[in-house]
Symmetry: C2
DNA sequence: TGACAATGTTTGCCTTGGCAAGTATTCTGG
DNA sequence: CCAGAATACTTGCCAAGGCAAACATTGTCA
């Protein structure tokens, strides 16, 4: 049974366009509140991936963020230049380069995290915790569907 | 009462990062299925805005999509070049330029719409209609919160 | 083991969006 | 009425991502 019908599809209410709008305001808010740190939302996500041990190389950060490897190289160049991130050639796999936060990076990241969490809480004002959990679950179910359809959150080549 | 706490914030599950991922797979799927028409997701949204009478000028399309006016000029140049959209100087307000689909645009758009709705239905497989409605409502509530915080990325006139 | 595929990173080129300045037109307050 | 603000669009310039090619290294398998 289909959810949406082309004849009645409303781009002002349907889930896909709404997702885009909500994401847009999220990023706008994050950008504004991270500005004092001279950090952009994308940079924050890179730092957060490293800080949370969700990724430890450029390529793993790329697959998590679905970001281009070429662009990532340049971004890490900049973050390294600013002394927030360090590159360490891996001993086990000499192709890879381990990434880690510098002491300076570890010091300032918590402030950015606080900002990001603050934005999330502000936008979810009025939601109960149960609702948020339900919301998270629905998002995960969509990702699972995407997964089954072959749209994993990896580079196109990695999909095979 | 806050939803998220920096100490336990998980970027793999929290709403903001999940929104980004879900949107990314949506766009990837849309891009792939629109490729046969040589149309990109952004182009589709422009055409959809015009087809659904949600917008009828470049600026109104911009506010709906939170898109840059400069980029929009170039995009419409291209769509006009391809014979899908037509520019008609407005008689009432001679600053504005009315946009409309050409007969050719009207002819091909339904196929793109079918693709887009198909993607939405595929990704929402397993959702009941009630769940989708609830999902839409939550997204709207977030936009309303953004609104109160001064992040009105959508043109007000476009929402009326 | 030896070709060949795959992975991780980098670089150059191209496309596209963001931003600022400029023009034309309309709106507004004194 | 009219000077200045606001709106609609355009253009040029810059920043950043997407893509492809190149290189080094590792994995696979006949």
């Amino acid at each position: 049974m289909s959810i949406y019908d082309p004849a009645t599809y409303d781009i002002r209410k349907a889930v896909p366009p709404m997702l885009g709008r909500v994401r847009a305001v999220f990023i706008a808010a994050l950008e504004e509140r991270l500005a004092p740190f001279d950090i952009k939302p994308v940079d924050y996500v890179v730092l957060a991936s490293l800080a949370n041990d969700v990724a430890d190389t450029a390529s793993s950060v790329c697959s998590i963020m679905s970001h281009d490897p070429g662009a990532m190289t340049r971004k890490i160049d900049a973050l390294e230049q600013r002394g927030l991130v360090r590159r360490v050639r891996s001993a086990e796999d000499r192709r890879a380069i381990k990434l880690e936060l510098t002491p300076e990076g570890r010091k300032v990241f918590p402030k950015m995290l606080a900002v990001a969490v603050g934005v999330a809480n502000d936008f979810l004002r009025g939601f109960s915790k149960a609702e948020v959990r339900q919301f998270e679950d629905m998002l995960q179910r969509i990702l699972d569907n995407a997964d089954e359809m072959g749209f994993e959150l990896l580079g196109k080549e990695a999909r095979r």
